[in-house]
Structure formats: structure tokens, C-alpha cells
Subunit: 347 residues, 4 copies
């Protein structure tokens, strides 16, 4: 942490800073530059210190130096984290595809979709049983009934299942059915929920928040990891910007950036990220090219009759075409599609 | 809801839309313009319909017409909602000041602050017992011990208490101690929590999210109101933008805008909104001038030793000076400071 | 400037940095902290240095310390700059009101408006002769004919005139007619234009750009000042954010912040800032309360027939009411309305 | 254009709207819905009409239907525009690579770079002779001397040249030297400049502004096209968002979106878009996968000694590696690298 002094600071004010640092067991190294004097803080700093020092007389600004996350950082663990789910490995250099409807609407709808995405080569089945909705007056999911349908689909197709958990109370319930627990964008700073899934022995897929910087997102992963669960998969899904032509603005540079800063796998969700089915395929290919470890895609038997997010869902045929293209692009990139899951997944 | 057809739509595609609408009990009125053909949807539309129609052949875009919130809207209830807390009324045309430390750190710290803000004319005591923190490695509040200290301060000073609740599990606990339950910016779309505080018989102060549009924010209020609790106080506290010189960017135009669209009181939190103590007073005055029903302010005995958000806290003396200025400005605006709370508040 | 080394830097890399600094006449002070090693750069640094050093081996990040603007900074000139226009002083502690139509449409329209705003107490007449428009197919101003009409209005009413100049070629032309040259938000980084108005002996009103940080804005002022013209008035007019309910999001905290960082007067334009006439009055009052040195307001005889920006224009009557309120609020704030301009302004 | 009436509108107010529309030669079709009454405006509407109607009594909101750009729209011209520069075609289904230093610094630096990028397979040479810089105190280019150096490089290597023009006055000068005129992000709404390059017989590369929506960007292209120059190349280079870990946030979804809405070629500039050399290659590949017609890349002999933007420049070796990867990825995508330019370009 660096303390930048005001141009007109007094020697007394500078001494005040140095004394304060000593008082709390740290030390300060003063550099007198031509334009500014700066005090470098040496010792084990804690984050609140910035706020405290900023209010002291003579101080112009505080500049943090250390990164605030540890367990997630590549400096802490240089090698990629690989997470096994069923027979596929996420983060191991191959591209893993998670596909399915936004919401589980019925057994018929989910089973048809599960079979179609499996046939087209998907590795994981996605589907929401609990749906966060901006309005209280919209369809919010089949809840436990939806989880049971997902389980049935896993048993038939062998595809492991990723599904969202929205509240602490439901963590155990969802963990009984799901292979990967999903934390949605709206809950990225629901810290009690993060800690609760940190205590569960299942991988967690953590979506980036609408307003999360990459650093915030890694700190949310840190919450989960600090409770013992190291199997966190990051999922880029767009941030909120002034552009309204797409539902969100996908920040694909966050994929290589997050992978440089941390060792966790990063997947991409171009369905929510764009909100337009016709942008899903180009942004899926772009995500792979940016280095994503996987894709999360919405597929629906009849997108124009979906109870949720129809506008961004692919038809079975469009998903099949996307997978063909992903195969070719993945090979050119040296990130081939993961080999198909074989047999029932381990729950 | 309006369906905008593509320029090159076919008659068959248009018929498809009209038939689909009839199938679900609605009807469509077609307007053939010079540049575009538009179908106005008549009947009780539901929000998902936009997504469904958008994927139908021949459709260029869908434009919603109705506002998605009802109970919160001024069209539903034209008159201002007034919320009584202790002896003050929020939303009744006077300015209510809520002040105290960001976090309750000790009985000594809170009692001293409570006495100081009471002496300077504050109406409500604020203080966090549960603190949402971006990093898992920072001080997160005294929890129930903090609530007990708040209760003691209320008993001594008579000031009602507003404090944050972060998770469904703690709603009953916090409601036993607090006069107003606060929902923080990070939980503005934690829908289970919103519904839970909607079942409690205490007013709720709902902060705007970092990435919430005014409409999103009103929909979050709608979640609370839809469970029966109509006493919601909105709190503007800044949104996330590209500007980094302040912690957030306060959107003061949201105050008169929200008051035009809905009937709920709107208060302003310039401490979190700016993150800089020296911007708090001008932005507090500006909030009043923009029409805020109240202010929420951080005050701390020693801002440079605070365990949380010291950089944005006022000293006792600065708070006193702010209150003097607020008195004069409030009178000029026709929004005087509320008269002081007398005697112990009703819990 | 501080050079933050990577955790795994080598001694050779550190030496490389220190040698490079000496090679260009600077020196480096190394601080070895517990988590990071930092090199403080001492000497006259230049901005490109950050980019250069950032690519050197062993470097993690570069942190600039000095502010990149000089002439505009309060450290360079501690006292407020006061700018006299006609008989009013902008930046002298009183509130100056600039009012008039968005665009000059006809002599009749402008003269009626000039008389009305003068009668209600405005100090400066605004009106666009050259209009920047997002679409090439919209009304773009009367050009020199508009300037002549503005001149006629000044002669009759005595109000000095502020009007926009959009291109280098027109600077001399506009300067012959205007008392204050306005640089619009879209031209805030049109550096040749900034330099050209920097060579003119008239004050310049510099709007903030849609995407300008406060620092960018001050650097644009620095461009003007670096050519010799020190009479720059900053004008906050909203930035672009995710919120679409208002045309822009006014960042009122930028007013006290800019006044703290620099010595120039800062005015506020709530008409463009909000885009909604019914938000203009509350945001005008809020701007005053935030410390603005003046207001810039759109007034039109028939807002529903304006050729430009009718939705944000006040009627004569609404402007009169706003001025009454501004009078009361200004007195309470200790920033009274400037006394009326008397007699013809000096061109 | 649709006029949305307030819920409590009166018949008199509705008649007022209809009469006003007839008065200006349009007509209104009224749809009385369950929640809202809407008036569809039929006839040749003009953009200002929205503002005018919005202020009329009884009106709640105005919803535009038509797109405000014409010449640029795919509805106006369904087939892709192909632009020939030297021996390459931009927009014809192959990937065109423009590479070179951010700024021309010396003949030696530019010639070395031109030879290196040519050897690695680039098709167009980029280099700035006029540099827009946020601070007035930084290197701003060699101006005409820089143009002469670019010309010499074209003569030796045969690579056509793209370079920026910043002001109306320099358009003819730059057009004498350049094969493609570049309009920078800061000038995307410098309308006089747009019109001036619209009168020149050379292709124009139009960068997206920091705060431009896709629609704004297409309107800026429309300005150029409306003056007769139809050869506009759009260039995505990132927008300004809350994320500060990268210089800008690249909005790659804008590439397929712009190509759907308009017929112009779209290229991508990941060097400026990210500001970090180590993100350039993944974002270049991602841009190709998103459908870009070309790439614009910064290459410098010694990035750590560049006078401008060193942190985002590739070394010769890194550029060569990127081109190898681009070759493989382009083939997998069906968008191979364009065949090399042969012989001197036509100036």
C-alpha cells in the first residue's frame, strides 16, 4: 500500500502517518519525489487500512498494491485447476459444452432437450428449477419437481447436471440433485450463499455479476474457496453497460484476463450474455477463441413458446450446427471439444 | 405490447402472429405504416410474451408498453405513502435524517455516536451489525451483539434504529431489534430475501443496486409489497459507472424520477454514494434539493480508525455543521427537517 | 510514478528497471515489502513512461502518482478563477443563470425567449446556431444567420450570449458574435478545436463528454489553457450509463469534486443532463446545492413545437417559477443569484 | 412512431394528438388496449417529432419504430459492401490484417515494422502521423513528416496505408498520402469531419466511440455516406465501462450485430480495445470468430521504448505467432486470411 501525500503536506503530518503505521505494527518508507512524496507501507496490511489512512491530515490518496484475493490467485497456485464432472474435465484444455433449457418446464420438454443436446455432443445438461426473475409476476421455476426431472434426465442420458441455487436454505436440496451448483449473476455478492456452497462437496459455477469487475468476481470465488471448496468454475455472462441493443455486453477479454490472474476454469454463457439467439453462435465461437474452457448454452424445443428467455434459445437444429462449427474451431485452436460423456454420471 | 414487423415480412408471417395471439386469448391490431407495420397486442399480456413473439418469423422487435410493476406505481396509488417510525414520518414532506456509523464496532463507539447524532438533530440511528464485504478477509460485523448494542442505544436516546439484514435466516432476528430493516445494494435482487422482509411488519429500506435501473429497483420494491408489506423506503446510493474518482456515481435524478413513477418515499445515502467524506455535505444538500424525503449519513467518532468505510464518515463536528446547513436549505426548499423524535421509539 | 514488481521478479529484472530509469535521467527508489517490491520513480516523469515500463520484464503494474494536468489544478493556482462576462462574474460565489432555446429557430422565437428569460432574471442568453446532431437528417441550425439573431437579442436585452462552435474553421466567426464560446460534449476531445479556442480572447464553456472522467475533462480544459486562454468554465451535463430512463445520468458529485481539484468555475446543464423537462427544476436546485457556479437551462416559447430538444425545454412560466425557487434556495445556500445584468454587454 | 398515452388521458388530449398529426401531414391510428391506449403514427415521420409529441398533454412516452439510418442499413442494401484497397478486398469473406506501430516515430522504426509485418503476412500498414492524446503534454505525432515516411514504406513494401485524420483542415493532406483515412474514437461525432471525409474518394475506417451505441456508430457512418462516400469500414475498439482492468471493454457482440443491421465491413482493434499486449492475441482470434472482416493490430520493434501505447504493442515475433494462429483459425472459420498484397498499392 502506498500513501500519496498532498503537495502541501507538513513534516508534522508526515510524522503522523509514520507513527500511526508503527503503532499498528507496520513501517513506512518515505520517497521524496520531485512532484510528490510517497510513503510505502511495509508489513502485513489489511484492507480497511486504506480507508483509515485516507482520512489522515496531509494525505492525498492511497494506492493499494497487493491483490485482495489469495486462494484464487495464480501466484498462490500456478497450475490450472481441473474439475472432473462425470466423465469430463473442465479446465483441462478441452472445451466442455453445457446445454439445455433456461428453465425446466415439464418432463417432456426437458427429456426431449436432454436427448437432443446429448446427441449433438453436449457434455453437461443445464436447466433451471429455481429461476431468479426481475418481476415477481413471472414464472419462477418448478422448484423440487424441476430437480427431480433433471435427475431423471441424467439417469437416462448420463449427462451430469448443472442447476442454480438461489438461497442458503435450498443448498442441501439442490446439492442432492445437481452435479454442479450454479450461483447466478444476481447472487454474486450474496455472501452467505457463497459461504454455504463453499461447504458443499460439489463444484460451483459462479456467474459474473452485472456490475462485477474481474477483481470483484475473483473475490466472490475467494469467499467460496475460503470455506474449503476449491472447485469453482467462473462463468462470464456479460456486464451492464450503456449499450441496449444486446441484453448485456459480453466482456470476452475477461476470459483471458481471469485465466491469467487465477487458476480456475472460465466458461462463457453467450445466451444470457447477448439475449439474442442469432448472436449466440458467433459469440460462442469467439468465447472459445478467447480461451474459454467451456460454453453454457440455452437450447429449447420451441423457443417461441418458452416460459423463460425464448429469445436467446437455440433450436435443436441450430445447436447441432453450432456444435459442428465448435468442433472445427476447437481443433484449429488446440482446444477440441471434450470427448463425450459415457454412461451415467456420478451424482 | 407492440410487435414491430420486419420490412420484408410476408402476409403469412403476419397471420402467424395474429393467430398466435388469438390462441392465447389476446388480439392484435395491425397498423400498416409507410416504413413499418406494427401489431398492437390487446388483452392481458404477460412479460414472457415478448421473448416468445420475438423469435417468430417476420418479427423485428417487440416493444413493451405497460410498466411491469403495479403496487409500487403512482398510477395504482396516486398519493404519497407516509411511513411512521417512532415519532417521525418518512415521506410526509419533511426531511428525515438517519445517521450513525457504518458498522457497530463497540458499545462505546455506538453510544457516543448515538448521543452525538441525537444532539445534532438526527431522527433515526443507523449502524450495521451484519456487514456485506467484498473480501472474505475483512471485518463483517458484531452480528447479534451489534443488534443488542443498537437496542441499548435506542433505549437511551429514543432514536429508532435502521440496520441491515443480509439473509433470509436472520430476518426474524433483525426484526426483533430493528425499527427499519435495511436491504443492501448487493441484495437488491436477492428475491427470497425480498419476499421474506415482505412478510414482516416493519418498514424496509431498500437500497438501489449498483446496476439497477430505476425500473429494476421498483420491481424489487414490488417483490416486497407483493407479500403484504407496503412500507418500503427507497434509498438512492449511487450506481456503477466508468467514473472512478468517486466510489459510485450518485444518480440524483433518480430521486424525482422515482417519486414521479411511484408513491414510496425516497431517501439518499451520499456517504456510500460518494465514498469521500468531503463530498457528503454537498451531495446531502443536493439530495434534499432534488426532493429526497430523507438522508442516510455515516458518522463516526474517529473516522481514521473506523473498521469500515472510514473515508466516507463524518466527524461529530462535521455532522453538526451539515445539520445546520440542512436546516436552512430544507426551509428554503419547503422541506424542513422533521421535528425531533421525543421519547423512546416503539420497537 | 510507482513500478510494482511481479511477485516472482528476478534481481536482474529489477536492475533492468533501475538502469532504464537512469538512462533517461531519472532514479528509482526500491521498497521491498512483505508482499510486493515497488520502485518509486524520482525525477520529471513523462506520461508515456508508464506504457514503456509496463512492458519490461518483471513488471506487474505501473501506478501514476502525479496529476497529469497543471494549469487547471488547484495546486497550481489555489484561488478560484472568476470570469467576467458582461456585468456578471462567473465563479465569484454567486449563481449565474444562462437560459434560452436549444436552437435558434427564428428571430421571433429567439427574441421572445430572450425577453422572457431576461424578465425572469437570467444573466446570459444561450442558443445554438450550429447544432451537433446524431443523425445527418435532422435540423442542424441556422448557422451565421442564427449568430446574427443572437447578436440582435444581445443588443436589445443586454444579455451576453453563449453559443456553440463545432469546428476549427468557425472559431473566428463564432467569436465575433459570442461572449462565451461553447464546446459541446461530442467535441470534448476534439483537440485541434480545443487549441483553437485556446487562442481566442473569449471565455470558453467546456461541456463534459458522455464518457469523460473528471480527469479527462480537466485535461481537455488544460488543452485550452495551454494555448493561453485561462477563462474556462466547466459544464456538467451528464454521462452515459446503463440507465435509460433519463437521457444521460447527471453526475452532480463531479461539481464539488472538480471544484476541489481545480480552480475553474463549474456550471450545470440539467436540461441536456436529464432530457425531461419535469426533472429540470429539481436537478437545477440540486446542482446549486452541490456547489455549481451557475445553471444552463433550455427555455422555449412552445416546447411541443421546438425543432430540437423540445422534451427537455421549460416554458416561460416554468422558467419563471424555477427562478423564484432558485432565489430562495440560493440565499439559503449562501450562493445568491447574481445581480441582473444592466445595459448592453461588452461584445 | 408510437405515442403511448397516460393511463388517465382525456378524450380531449387524444384529439389534440390526432389533430396535431394531421396538421403536419401525418395520421394517427388509435389502439385502445386493456392497460394502455397507443397511437400509431403513419406517414413520413422526422426524428424531432418524438420530442415535440412527448411534451403534449396526456402523453406518457414516445416509442420510435423506424431505424434512423438508411444508406448504411441492410434493408436499404442487402448485400455486403466490399471495399478494395490495393490488392485486398475488405468485406469479401476473407480476413484482412492491418498492422503497424501506434505512432510513426522515425523512418527507421516504421520501415523495420513495415518489413516485419509484411513478412508475417499483413495486408495493410497502419501508423499514426497525427495522434489524439488525452494530455496536451504528450507526443502528438510527426504530422506531415510521418505521412511521408508512411508513403516511403508503401513504396517499398507495396502495403497500402491506413492513417488517422483528426481535423477538417488536414483531410486533403492526409488523403494525398493514405489509402484509407481513419476517424478515431474521439471524433466519431465530429460531424464536420465526418462530412469532409464523406467528400473524399478514399475508403474511411470509422472507429466506434467510447460511448457510442451500435446505432450511434451507424449514424456516424451515415454522415459519411450521405456525402457520397459509400466505402466505410467500421472498427470495433472497445467501449467505456466500469471495468478498469482493461483500457476499454471490447464489445465483440457488436461485430455480428453491426453486420446484421448494416452492409458495411466490420474490423476489430484488440490493441486499443484491451490496452494489454498479452490480451491482443486471444481477442484477435475472438474477433475473427465473432465474424470480423479484419484486424487492426499494433506492432512495434521495441514496445518498451514506444512513444505511444507501448503496453499494447506486439513485438515482431509475437505478431508472427499471431498470424500463424490466425491462419489456422481463419481456415476453420471459413474466413481465411486474405491472400498477400502483390506489388505497390494504388495510392
Amino acid at each position: 500500500m502506498m500513501v500519496i501525500m498532498r503537495k502541501d503536506y507538513t513534516e508534522e503530518e508526515l510524522s503522523g502517518i509514520l507513527e500511526r503505521l508503527e503503532e499498528i505494527g507496520l513501517s513506512g518508507h518515505t520517497i521524496v519525489g520531485m512532484e510528490r512524496t510517497v510513503v510505502g507501507v511495509v508489513g502485513q496490511v489489511y484492507p480497511e487500512l486504506a480507508d483509515d489512512l485516507e482520512t489522515m491530515p496531509g494525505v492525498d490518496d492511497i494506492v493499494p498494491i497487493s491483490k485482495p484475493y489469495k486462494l484464487a490467485s495464480r501466484e498462490f497456485k500456478p497450475h490450472n485447476t481441473e474439475i472432473r464432472v462425470g466423465d469430463v474435465v473442465i479446465g483441462g484444455g478441452q472445451t466442455v459444452v453445457m446445454a439445455g433449457p433456461c428453465a425446466v418446464e415439464s418432463e417432456e420438454q426437458l427429456m426431449a432437450t436432454a436427448r437432443a443436446v446429448k446427441a449433438a455432443g453436449a457434455h453437461v445438461l443445464r436447466g433451471g428449477a429455481f429461476k431468479p426473475r426481475t418481476s415477481p409476476y413471472t414464472f419462477r421455476g418448478l422448484e423440487e419437481k424441476g430437480l427431480q426431472i433433471l435427475k431423471a434426465a441424467r439417469e437416462e442420458t448420463g449427462l451430469p447436471v448443472v442447476t442454480e441455487v438461489m438461497t442458503v436454505r435450498d443448498v442441501d436440496l439442490v446439492a442432492r440433485y445437481a452435479d454442479i451448483l450454479q450461483i447466478g449473476a444476481r447472487n454474486v455478492q450474496n455472501f452467505f450463499l457463497l459461504e454455504e456452497v463453499g461447504r458443499v462437496g460439489k463444484p460451483v459455477l459462479l456467474k459474473r455479476g452485472f456490475a462485477s469487475t474481474v477483481q470483484d468476481w475473483l473475490l466472490s470465488a475467494e469467499y467460496i474457496m475460503s470455506k474449503g471448496n476449491r472447485d469453482v468454475i467462473l462463468c462470464e455472462r456479460g456486464i451492464r453497460t450503456f449499450e441496449t441493443a444486446t441484453r448485456n455486453t459480453m466482456d470476452l477479454s475477461a476470459i483471458p484476463l481471469a485465466k491469467r490472474l487465477c487458476h480456475l476454469p472460465v466458461v462463457s454463457d453467450p445466451s444470457h450474455g447477448t439475449g439474442k439467439w442469432y448472436l449466440v453462435e458467433p459469440m460462442a465461437m469467439a468465447s472459445m477463441a478467447a480461451g474459454a474452457d467451456g460454453l453454457m448454452l440455452e437450447v429449447h424445443p420451441n423457443p417461441d413458446r418458452a416460459l423463460s428467455d425464448g429469445a436467446e434459445s437455440l433450436t435443436f437444429e441450430n445447436f447441432r450446427l453450432l456444435m459442428e462449427r465448435a468442433k472445427a474451431v476447437g481443433e484449429a485452436l488446440g482446444r477440441p471439444l471434450a470427448s463425450e460423456a459415457k454412461g451415467p454420471a456420478r451424482a
